[in-house]
Structure formats: C-alpha cells, structure tokens
C-alpha cells in the first residue's frame, strides 16, 4: 500500500537515520531508494538587480553599441569572441571552455514580456512565472515539480525526500514557493539543532513543532527536522570539493549545492541567487563593478561544473535576471532599468557553443521604447524546454498558466 510505504520513506526511514542503531548500509540503501526521480537535476540562478546583458554577452559588431556606450562599452579587441558577432565580457573567461565544449548555451534578447521597470514587480513576475499577473503566490519551479508528479501519474503519492526542492538562501524564494515543500538553508554545516549529535533539546523542539497546532510553524517544523536528520546521515562535513570556488557568498552557495547534489539527498531542483547587478553608477567597462561581479558569477558556475565531475551529465543550470538595462549609458557612467537580457543554459545535453534567439539589433528604431534591447524570446519559452527535459514536466500549462507555450516553438536548446 502506497500510504505506509510513503510514510516509511518520508518519516520512518529518516527518523531511523538519525539514530546509531541502524547499520550504515541500510541507511545508504534507504537513501538510494528515496531518490526516485530520473536523476536529472535543475539548478536555477537568479541575478537580482537587473544584470546588464549587453555588457555580458557583447554584440561587438553593432556599431550603435559603441555609440550608445562611450565610456562603458567593451572594446572589440577585449571581448572573448564567441561567433564573430557576440563576445563574452573579458572577466568571464571561465565560461569560454564550457562554451567551446558545447555545454554552455546563451539565449540573447530574452526575458519577461512585461514592461515594468520595477525590480520588485519584475522579480515577482519572473519568479512566479506569470508576468503581468499580481498576487500569484507560488513559483514556476514549484509548479514544475508538481507537473513532474502529474507526468509520472503519481501526484500526491510520489516519494520524495525533504531535499527535493532546495534553496541556498535564508528564505524560500518565490520561485520555489508553493504546494511542494521546499527547504531553505544558508549554511550546510550549521544546519543542525543543538549541536551535530541528536540531543534532548533537539527532540523537544521536534516534539513541540511536530505536534504544534500552529499551522505555519508546524509544517515548516516537520520539513526542518526531516531535513536536519537526512543531512546528518549524509555527513556533509566529510565533503571535499574537487574544484576551487571563489570565496564569495555566491561561490559558497554553488559549492554547497554541489555538495548536496553529490550527497544523494534527492535534490531535484536547487535555487540560489547573486546580488549586486543594479549598476546605475560607475558600472565600469573591462574592469570595475560589473566586471568583478561577472568574474564571481562565471568562475563560481564553472567551478560548480568541474566539481560535479561525472555527475555533471545529469545537471542543467539556467540563469536569469528580472530585466536588462538601458542600451545607452546614463549620465553617471552606469545604466538604468531596461528590458531584454541574456540567459545562460549549461548542461551536458544542452546544445551549447551557440548564441540562440533572434537578435533584434541596436539601431534606434530597433530598440524597445527607443531605449532598451528589444525582447525576442520569452524567458518562459527557455524554461519550458529546460523543465520538460530535466523534470519531465510536460504539462506546461501547469508550470506557466496562460502562456500558451508549445514544444514545437522550442529553441531546441536541449538535445
């Protein structure tokens, strides 16, 4: 019967995992069994603050790009050329090998079709997956996990671990919020209650949250103690990364995602974010603010890829930012809130080594509202293809309601 088995997996085995009387091999077996998804994992990265896509994937053959950005443009001889037309910002050299190996794809002029220039609204729209619709209180990635269960015809009965949906952040971001329980943690090593070993204090907290009549705290409390026990059994302290990450908040988050993926905890979707893209002032050209951010961004992701080693073949990474920035630089050597942007998709099955999407051009009449890169690819189109491939979330109407996304319109990013 499904119910008892589910309970054993969700509650029983994990409860046992925390004690010492269970032989290690049994714990490993239980762990192996709880990982039920087809081993494809999705890592989602949000660049908060609106990254300047035009200085990240530079259209170095566009005359007007240089005319509009007299002080911050990346000179032609400085870009890392990709295809004779586009080039990466010089501080992103870590991405070049991934591109050359065909693992890294770029979609340019992509983003949310909504015209808002508010960080707040645009992040909400992008994370909820319903541009223009306010008040959606769950995220596209959570719904993608629901769609996965629908696809496997086991909605409500599928076996999943507490780590299925994971955010490396202090709170659960809107992207991951919703019916599917998601956990948030900011530091793997301190994710333990009252010390690394089981203790009376931890047991007391578990009892008071587990049996609390406080509905919000009860539910989160249950998820918390499940996750704490699983993590303890997996013993993250023994982990040694096999790549060197930048010692930054983002680098640390990527390292911990790799650590948790490799620990076979049943992670299917992981989320993290990187701040500091709102470069209104002195954003810099080949050096400076944006350059430093891009170096952190690209080397952390590249380190993650190396660290995953053989297991990288089951991982897909996708990045996004709420909107792009103005095509023209502003009066303070920075850029203001714009529209379309560049997205990165990284994976073994990704059709990389290519800049996908239709390029709208940068001549004055080609700009959105005369000021920003126009949008030619709805970001949901990109994500649809990715979630279909990784999670098997085939019912796209669940993931992106009313978006009318059709598989035959896919950019064929994934092979």
């Amino acid at each position: 019967m499904q119910i008892n088995r589910r309970f054993f997996l969700h509650k029983g085995a994990l409860a046992l995992a925390g004690t010492t009387v269970i032989p290690q091999f049994l714990i490993r077996k239980v762990m192996a069994e709880t990982v039920t998804s087809p081993n494809k994992r999705l890592v989602v990265i949000f660049q908060r603050g609106a990254a300047d896509g035009l200085n990240i994937v530079v259209p170095h053959q566009e005359r007007n790009y240089y005319a509009m950005r007299p002080t911050i443009a990346i000179p032609q001889n400085q870009v890392i050329d990709l295809d004779g037309f586009f080039g990466l910002h010089p501080s992103m050299s870590a991405f070049k090998p991934l591109y050359d190996q065909g693992h890294l794809a770029i979609v340019h002029a992509a983003g949310s079709p909504d015209m808002t220039r508010s960080h707040f609204d645009a992040q909400d729209y992008m994370e909820s997956g319903t541009p223009g619709v306010k008040g959606t209180d769950d995220g596209w990635l959570n719904r993608a996990l629901q769609a996965e269960d629908l696809h496997r015809r086991c909605a409500g009965t599928c076996e999943h671990t507490a780590f299925r949906a994971l955010a490396l952040s202090a709170d659960v971001p809107l992207t991951l919020a919703g019916k599917v329980p998601a956990i948030a943690l900011s530091n793997v090593n301190s994710f333990t209650v009252a010390g690394p070993k089981p203790s009376p204090a931890a047991a007391a907290f578990q009892a008071m949250y587990g049996e609390s009549g406080d509905q919000i705290l009860h539910a989160t409390g249950d998820e918390t103690f499940d996750a704490v026990k699983m993590l303890r059994a997996a013993n993250p302290a023994q982990y040694k990364p096999s790549a060197e990450y930048p010692n930054t908040a983002f680098g640390n988050n990527m390292k911990q995602i790799a650590q948790l993926l490799k620990a076979n905890l049943g992670v299917e979707a992981a989320f993290t974010d990187i701040n500091g893209w709102d470069t209104h002032q002195n954003q810099g050209g080949i050096n400076g603010q944006l350059a430093a951010r891009l170096s952190d961004f690209s080397s952390s992701i590249a380190a993650f890829w190396r660290d995953m080693g053989d297991q990288a073949e089951n991982v897909t990474v996708v990045t996004m930012s709420e909107f792009g920035r103005t095509a023209r630089e502003n009066g303070t050597a920075g850029t203001d809130h714009g529209h379309a942007n560049a997205m990165f998709v990284l994976g073994a099955d990704v059709k990389g080594g290519k800049v996908h999407g239709k390029w709208p051009g940068l001549e004055p009449e080609q700009l959105n509202q005369g000021r920003d890169l126009a949008l030619t690819t709805d970001y949901r189109q990109v994500l649809s293809e990715v979630v279909t491939h990784t999670l098997g979330a085939s019912n796209l109407n669940v993931v992106f309601p009313n978006a009318q996304l059709q598989p035959n319109n896919f950019l064929k990013l994934v092979v």
């Binding site: 209180d137 952040s169 009376p200 009549g213 023209r328």
Partner: protein, 688 residues
C-alpha cells in the same frame, strides 16, 4: 498565500500518515488549544490580553514586568505616552549610549575623527596631508595610511614575483616586511599601565608594531587592554586599528541598544519601520556608514512619529539617500552644467562628448516605494520627468561628510508634468512642490496605511482598517501619530484573529528574546551576527525595497534551525558578552520541580503562555535530560562568522566580545537554561 498551501499539504500529510502515528500525536493534532488563541478562538481579548497585544505590536515585545506596569498605568495612558517619546524618561538608555561617543558627532566631525577610506587614500597618494591634531589623533591617520601603503607594496611584490616566475628568472628571496618582536614582558608591562598611559603607549607604536601587539594578545589580555578606559579612549584604540570599522560597529550596536533598552519603544519600532521603508544599504559605498549615522539620528528618528511630509522631505535632503539612489550625480540634459561640459568637449575636438543625463533611480523609487506605490498609474515618462525635477539635488563634498546642496547648474530648467500635474520651473522649490504633491496623494495614504497595517496587525489586514487609516492620514495632513491612533482605536486591531497573528521577523525575534530574558549585554556583536546569519542584517538589504514584513519571507527550515540554536545559545550563556540568569536568587527553594520552574519561566518569557503541547514537550525532554546529560556545543554562535562573501559587518578585533567567565552552572541553573532555551525557541515565542 503560501501558508494556505502549507496548511493543505500539512493536513494532507497528516491524514495520510495517521495509520502510523502514535496516539498522543493524534490527540495533539491541530485542534487548537486553550492558550494559543489562533483564528479558531473567537472569544474577545481579556484586559491582560489587550495589554499584551499592545505591547507585542507597539514595542519590540514585553520585558518581564511590562504587563504589570501598563496594568497599573492604564493602557490608554501608556499608549499616549508612547506617542510622545519626549515625555518618557529614557536616562537608563542614555547611560548605555554613552558607550558610543562617535554617534553624537556630525558627519563632518565623524569623518574627521574616524577618517574614511577615500581620505586615507588621498593622504597616501600625497594629495592631502594629515589634518592638524594631537599626537593620538595624528596616529589614527598615520596607522591607516601606513596600512594602505603596506598593502600596495604587497600587491606590487606579488605582481613582480608573478612576472619573475613567468620569465623563469632566478627567484630572489622576497623581502618580507619585518615582523616587530613583541615580548611577553612588553605586553605585561603595557597592560599594567594606568588607562591613560596605556593609550599613549598604544598610540606611540608605529603601525606594524601596533598590529603585531594586538595579534600577540592572548585570552584575558584582550579584556585587560581596554580595562578601565573611558568610552572615548576605547573608541580611540578601535580607531588605531580601523576607524571605518569603529563607525560600523557603533552604528549597528547603538541601533540594537535602542531597540532593546529604549523606554520610548514605539519611537524605535517606528524608526525601524521607516528605516526599512526608506531602505539604505550600508555597503553601497565607503561613505555610507558615515552618512547613516546622521540618517538614523537626524533624518528618521525625529520624524518617525510626526508628519510624513516632513519625513519625506528630510529623506530627500539626506546625503545617505542621495548617495544610495544615485540622485547626487544626476544632471539635467539641458542644464548649464551639461552644456558647459559639451562645450568643453567640443573645444577639445570631441564632437560626441559623454552624455550628460539624468539618473532615474531615485525618481522611480520615490514614487514606487516611498510614496504612491507601483499601482498608482504613473508611466515611464512620469519617472523621467520626476527625475528631471530632482536634478541638482546633490551633496556638497560627499567624501568629507558634506551635506545637502541644491546645485542650480545641474538642475534641468523648465516646467515638468508628473501624473497629470504641472510643476512650474523653480529650482529647488519645484522639487519641494513635487514632494508635497506626492505626500498628499490618496494613493500615498493608502500605500502607507496598508504597510503600517501589515506591520502592526496582520499579514492580510482587513480592508476596512486600511480604509479608516487612509482617511485618518488624509484628514490629519499625513500625521503618522494620528494614523497610529486610528489603528489603536480600531476593532480590527483588538480582534482575537489579530492576537499573536504575526510571526516575528529575525530582528523582532532576536530583540524580543533579549528583552524577555532580561539579558545583560555588554557586547552586541553576537546579536548583530545572528541577524546576518538569519538573512536580516541591519542596514544589509541591498535592493531599495527593504525587508518584507510578512511571515512567508521568514518562516523556513533554515530560519527555524537558526532560531532554535540562538535560543539555546542565549539561554545557556554561550554568546560572548551576553549573560542571562534564570534561577531565582537567593537559592531556589528546594521544592522547585521542573514543573514549577517551567511555569515560572514560561510566565517570564512567553507573554500569554505556551500551548499544552509545547509545555509537555518541554517537560518530557526535561525529565529525559536527567537521564542523558545536556551538553551544548561551546560557543556555537558567538564566534562563528558568516563564511565567505562580503559581510555587512566588520568590527575592530579589539571590540570582539570575550568569552563569558562564569562559574560552571549548578544543576538547577543548567536545567533552567535548557528550559528557557526551549521556551525561547518554541512556536509560541516566534509569534507576537
């Protein structure tokens, strides 16, 4: 809402699991019990519950004795007093604040006493001299300049080494900086000096020796270093190490000191509210910590309970906001300044000079986040015109702690139109009229009323309440106190559904735990770092939106783990520099049992009590504890730093809290610590 989903999934999993659940768990399932008073309980609040409701919302939660004090004074009288903070005796707080002398200085004085990075680099570059002052003041600058030069030298050496390696030339032994020898005798003799002489000795050391001296201190020597010194002297020692870090340390420490100890609690609650509404990020640039001192003290706090328009005006004129949202650099495209720049460029033969134009950042957030809200119906063109109106609002000498300046040369001439309203040309006046226009919009009244209702009542406040507050705002000319009074007089505020309806944010949680436990706090660092780890560092929100007030953002697995660990660490005296005492003095009567101790501590810590479920979970494990001794990790919280990334917080090592030297707790004290820790980490204590 997410919580609804959570509820359904929780119920679902409960119903699925029943078959295997032990009986006691079923009995304790969400039937709602007597003391928790969530939405299931419709009984009107008792007089004491009304006092607790007011204390939970208008203060950073009750301290032991607050309930009785308000009962004696009368709730209405207490609230009126809170609305008029100048009528409240706050002398005990003033004593604590005297520990932070730099926080009384003007921005200019502050920058002069504790020089910031740009000033130090100017001196290091030979473009400025160390300003005149006594020998100690001189040494604060000299140490910083030397450190900059040392780092540059180091950098250069590294590059040369790298170049030498690639050129495969013979490696020379890198000339390393001489490590000054600090002997134990020298340390002992220095520490034995009287405070004034000790400070002189420290200030007479050249920078490398000073740094080596600090490094060589061990254990209690770190405490002895500052022993007997006045606050000013301690501050000077910190400045000899790093003036910038002293500013950050005092800024964050005073804010928590006020939140925990101020008697004018509503003023601090509202200061926190407005600091979040008009959010500013500490690390926007190097001057920001300096500007934030005045921002909190002169811009926000004095206006926190006054007219919103005054507050908005003060914020618009504050160097901190002009810096944070870039308006200080915004230049009108047709302004004198832009035209002159174009002419100059053309004379130099540059036919395509740098564009001189506006920066929209402040103009946009002023409307979206500070006043009318994003749904008020304005367009991108309105944002541009608003930004033009505000051109010329800039800062005079920002690096020297300069103040607001209206620069007509940068101001875009001519009339502008925003949201259908015309603003005549008129320099700074045009901007002031625009701010007046925004402050008096019904959209602003609604936007602020809703935010206040979410902070003070519930995550989904009733529309009837928001409407009443909106009306009050418009009728009173945007008087914040009047809006709060309306809230106080509204039945929605006192409804059983509102009682304990709010989940504490990390700041509210940490401050309330410190208040409830009557902790003796000699150092705020552990609390500051706890907030950082919980995702809510003070002045650490990067985007202008500020933190959210709703539970969704703060209830998560990681957050609960952090809260439980913090509760245990606080109660067990494992936070350096913070001590709590749980056992009644003198000697607890021998008849004290876990049950009576729990009852006593529950009454002290959890206003309104805990549920039977929580109580029995505490007591059950408490008796189990006698079988298996409780051995908490030592100092799990106090010393742990956020790993990696640029933390908001940086403090001089001389101000790091030292371990608490306490005698080992007696068995009863140990039990009480665990009891208190469990109560502070309980579900009930997460609510207010």
């Amino acid at each position: 809402m997410h919580s609804l989903y959570r509820l359904t999934s929780a119920l679902l999993s409960l119903s699925l699991c029943c078959a295997a659940l032990p009986e006691y768990a079923l009995a304790a399932a969400p039937s709602g019990d007597r003391t928790t008073l969530q939405a299931t309980d419709k009984a009107p609040l008792t007089p004491d519950q009304r006092i607790l409701q007011a204390l939970n919302r208008f203060t950073f939660s009750p301290r032991p004795g607050d309930l009785e004090a308000v009962r004696a004074m009368g709730l209405d009288h207490w609230f009126q007093q809170q609305l008029h903070p100048n009528r409240i005796d706050n002398s005990a707080l003033e004593v604590r604040l005297a520990e932070f002398p730099a926080m009384r200085l003007s921005t200019q004085e502050l920058v002069a006493r504790l020089p910031d990075g740009p000033i130090v680099r100017q001196i290091a570059n030979g473009k400025a001299a160390i300003p005149p002052g006594d020998s100690i003041e001189h040494q604060i600058y000299a140490n910083q300049v030397e450190r900059v030069q040392f780092r540059r030298e180091e950098q250069k050496q590294k590059q040369q080494e790298a170049a030498a390696q690639t050129a495969a030339t013979s490696m020379m032994a890198a000339p390393s900086a001489e490590q000054p020898q600090i002997t134990p005798t020298f340390i002992q003799s220095t520490l034995a000096q009287p405070p004034g002489q000790r400070l002189q000795t420290l200030a007479s050391m050249p920078q490398p020796q000073f740094d080596a001296f600090l490094k060589a201190l061990r254990g209690r020597q770190r405490e002895d270093l500052l022993d007997g010194m006045s606050p000013e002297m301690k501050e000077t020692v910190g400045a000899l190490e790093s003036p910038q870090k002293v500013v950050v340390d005092e800024l964050l420490s005073t804010r928590l000191t006020r939140d925990i100890y101020s008697e004018a609690q509503l003023q601090e609650v509202m200061t926190d509210f407005w600091l979040n509404h008009f959010n500013i990020y500490l690390r926007k640039d190097e001057e920001m910590p300096y500007d934030l001192v005045s921002y909190e003290r002169d811009t926000i706090r004095p206006n926190a309970l006054g007219k919103f328009e005054d507050l908005l005006e003060a914020v618009a004129h504050s160097p901190a906001m002009l810096l944070y949202l870039d308006n200080w650099t915004s230049i009108g495209p047709d302004s004198d300044s832009a035209e002159k720049a174009a002419l100059r460029a053309m004379r130099r033969g540059n036919l395509h000079p740098d564009p001189q134009s506006i920066n929209e950042n402040y103009g946009r957030e002023l409307m979206e986040l500070h006043t009318v809200g994003v749904n008020a119906g304005y367009t991108q063109d309105d944002v541009i015109q608003a930004s033009r109106i505000l051109t010329g609002w800039t800062i005079d000498k920002p690096q020297d702690g300069g103040s607001f300046q209206f620069d007509d040369n940068r101001h875009e001439p001519g009339p502008e139109k925003v949201m259908g309203k015309k603003f005549k040309a008129g320099g700074e006046k045009q901007g002031e009229q625009f701010l007046h226009f925004l402050a008096t919009r019904p959209a602003t009244a609604r936007f602020l009323s809703r935010e206040l209702a979410i902070r003070f009542v519930s995550d989904n406040p009733p529309q009837s309440l928001i409407d009443r507050m909106t009306k009050s705002y418009l009728k009173s000319g945007g008087d914040i106190s009047k809006v709060l009074e309306t809230l106080y007089r509204s039945p929605e505020f006192w409804s059983p559904q509102s009682y304990r309806a709010k989940i504490k944010t990390p700041l509210e949680y940490v401050v309330s735990a410190a208040r409830a436990s009557n902790a003796d706090i000699t150092n705020m660092q552990p609390l500051i770092y706890t907030l950082d780890r919980m995702g809510m560092p003070l002045y650490g929100c990067i985007p202008p939106t500020g933190y959210k007030w709703e539970a969704d953002d703060w209830v998560s697995t990681g957050a609960l783990v952090d809260r439980m660990n913090f509760a245990l660490a606080l109660a067990g005296n494992h936070l350096n520099g913070i001590t709590t005492a749980w056992t009644a003095q003198p000697e607890t009567p021998t008849e004290a049992t876990p049950t009576t101790e729990e009852a006593r501590l529950e009454a002290q810590l959890v206003a309104g009590g805990v549920s039977e479920t929580t109580r029995s979970a505490v007591l059950e494990q408490f008796t189990a504890q006698t079988r298996q001794p409780y051995q908490p990790e030592r100092n799990t919280m106090g010393e742990r730093m956020r790993t990696g990334g640029k933390s908001v917080i940086a403090i001089p090592t001389v101000f790091r809290p030292q371990p608490n030297h306490l005698p080992p707790p007696r068995p009863i004290e140990k039990q009480d610590q665990l009891l208190a820790g469990l109560l502070l980490g309980s579900p009930e204590f997460q609510r207010r």
